[in-house]
Amino acid sequence: MRRRIFPQRASDTDLDDEFAAHLEIETKQLMERGMTREKAEAEARRLFGSRALIAENTREVFGFAAFSRLWQDVRYAARILRRAPAFTAAAVLSLALGIGATTAVFSIADNVFLRPLPYADAGRLVWLGVRFSSIGMDFLPSPDYVAWRRDNRTFQALAATRASISTNMALGSSDQIEVRVGHVSANFLDTFAVTPAAGRNFRAEEELPNGPKAVLLMYPFWRDHFHTRRDILGSAIALDGQPYTVAAILPQSFVYPVDTPIDLVTTLPVSPTASHRDRSMSTWAVFGRLKPGATIAQARADLDQLYAASKADFPQLFHDDKLVLQSLQEHRAGNVHTLLEILMGAAACLLAIACANVANLLLARWSARSRELAVRAAIGAARGRLARQLFAEVALLIGAGTVAGMLLVVVALHGFVHFAAGEIPRLSEVGVDFRVFGIALLVSVATALIFAGLPALRAGRVDLQSVLQRAARGTAGGHQFLRRALVGVEVALSVILLCGATLLLETLWHLQYDHLGFQPEHLLTVSIPVHGSNFAESAREGLAIEVLADLHRIPGTEAASLAQCTPLTLSGTRTFSRSDRPLPEPFHKGDNIGICGTDSEYLKTTGAHLVEGRDFNDGDRAHPGTVAVINQAASRTYFPGKDAIGKQILGTGGTPWETVVGVVADAKNQGLNHPALPEAWINDTSPGNGGTANLLFLVRTLAPKAAVGRALRDEMRANHAGIFTKVESLDADMAEQTASPRFNTVLLSTFAALAFLMAIVGVYGVLAFSVTQRSAEIGIRMALGATPEAVLKLVMKEGAATLLAGAIAGVGAALLLTRYLTSLLYGVTATDPRLT
């Protein structure tokens, strides 16, 4: 039995016996020729040659030799690696970081760019619209959607969706919750070829402006709020006080084609008679499914005609804005190309540095072991065998690195999903699966072949004689140039990453600490959705006054104001006009000015700094739409060098002029990463001036958010049961706005810090090694009178040359590469000289 399991051992004893017998016979024969026993034994051994080599050669003949040798090599490598824990840990950690980071980023890129969209026959899905250059967004006005859907010849279906997800709706009766609602046209499911898991599709009449209303529930929402009860189908739920029929439950696998989580889907009001001349029109994001066999080019020709017709109907709206038509896959990947390419580049840099580091460590170790290798070669180790053994060490390191790297990938992907949910599309579809594992394997095999194989091949080509001679003299070396080149590359790569990270850090700094123009601390927003509810204008007004009074009553309130915008948003834009100049044409582009209706106390509530003039006072409330406060940007742009106070602005011919009474400091009214747009606050909070009907209040208070929310709900319950209030802090809103730049920065900074650390380890390794190797030489130098400073200079010169070359190359490359970061930067330019 034992023989069967360990045939090699048994054969080895046989071979030894046989060998000993022959040696004895030879010795006997030599003695018969008259030699002494000792001489004969020595001669016989000389004649037989290396016993180990014979055993080795003979074992080749046994079939299991290859396997047993592999196993032997691996065991030997493991032993060697265990004996050098510091080296092993450094190498495995480097590889794990490199492989982990690369795999995580590539998995996401693979998902975004290569994996098909999760819809049936997704190749026929397209994104289309008009790219309105003034706002840089693609959408389609509702009259054009209706016309194009009716008149096109290449689409099986065109679905419209409301680009934004409305979040301030209330559900149910007593327990109000906030649900996120997506609005779509009735043919939405047909377009995406989705069949409900249960229930029915939207009916055609459900998208008519006064038609019945139905909702489709997303699976997780149905599971969490209706506990997978099927009898919910057909019953009614209340949204904003309006009844909606639950028509269907969407399948678990369904992914809404916009990267915002939603809870349910309802219909848009699509009016079949919509016209450009309607008083209001909506703008929609449109998805299309091509007819089978139709190509993008045919669809483009078709749409070109439709667009020409739309333009002919109402040229003021379109000017020279371009038609956009692209495959949905392309559209979904579109915005993150830059970010993902940068991340992939950074991850690849990290991997390259890790590989260079490991190659360097291996080279150093193998140089130190060159004597051992030479001795083993001298007593009969085949050259190929030595190289194989070294390769086994590399394979073991990479294997361990890959396993550790995979753990990192799992962590990293969870991190991505958590922190970058809004930043990277289709992230919810990313999971750790065999595909990710395959990518990791590919990455690590490439790593093995390209980087670690290099020293293995070199070490396999040991020149016995020279190594033994050098070893005898107490010096060993070789690979000096290669090692320094590797360190140079490491330094260069880490400099590139550091430059990129610095730029992003500076961007984050600007976003966070640039002068805001208001005081976000202790500032809350209270929103109350009233659209869709049966609120007459007077009732809305009454509610607003009541809520304001309630807010003032809540302990801690310092100021409260009804406003249509927060300091970080606008309620809309208009074309600027002034009474002493001719009126601009309708739909005139340019000369934009943001509009926000407020009542008195707005400036006091937000803590905005009044530069000149006055705030609205109670007297203005009696005459809405008569006075305006503008920001400095507006004053600079439209009244350059002049005093704006007292000027009459914003008339449209039909409405009265507003008199400018004050100028306030700029706030980031287009978001933190954009400069302030000229803005005017007017003393009119009615929805008629372009704002929504929803009520928004700003509250400056010392009380915490939750306390204000509770107190307000208590106050409201008495007179306005069923009205939904949402209290948020502006600080949180700002944190949300800096979340994605912060994510970019944290990620790239982490990469850069790791790269820097690895480069330092690399430089240290090379220098320390060369110093150890030259310790004899240094000793002689010192004995001959070299001062410690001179020796230090000698070593420093060696290191400095490598570092300098690497740093210069890195800065050069960084100057070329950081321009790709431009779209992610704010307040700093890509080639900022301070970095270099």
Binding site: E18, H22, E24, E26, G49
Partner: protein
């Protein structure tokens, strides 16, 4: 010492089989027999003899058993199997063919 000649690839097997047709022999004896019969021209390295013996045994042309040798030690004696004998005949004729062919090639070409 006379000049040594490197063995042609594959001829060692033939020589081993040839030596063993006179009866069982141990490895060392095989090596010596080849050396003696070739009048010291062919020196078989131990490094190639042992692998060859084991290879032939695995192919079933030889079998081995442990016996007491002339030096009063246990030694492994190899002997031809019937299959080994057939193989020997085959190899012999192939060898003769080869020798004839090489000889013909080496002869000066007739005008």
């Amino acid at each position: 010492m006379p000049d040594r000649i490197e063995l042609l690839q594959g001829t060692l097997d033939l020589l081993i089989l040839q030596v063993l047709q006179w009866g069982p022999q141990h490895g060392h004896g095989i090596g010596q027999a080849i050396r003696a019969r070739s009048q010291e021209v062919l020196q078989i390295e131990h490094g190639s003899l042992y692998p060859a013996l084991h290879r032939l045994e695995r192919q079933g042309w030889l079998e081995s058993e442990w016996k007491i040798s002339e030096a009063n030690r246990r030694a492994r004696y190899y002997k031809l199997t019937p299959r080994g004998k057939r193989q020997l005949i085959e190899e012999q004729s192939r060898w003769k063919q080869l020798v004839r062919a090489v000889a013909r090639t080496m002869k000066p070409v007739k005008e």
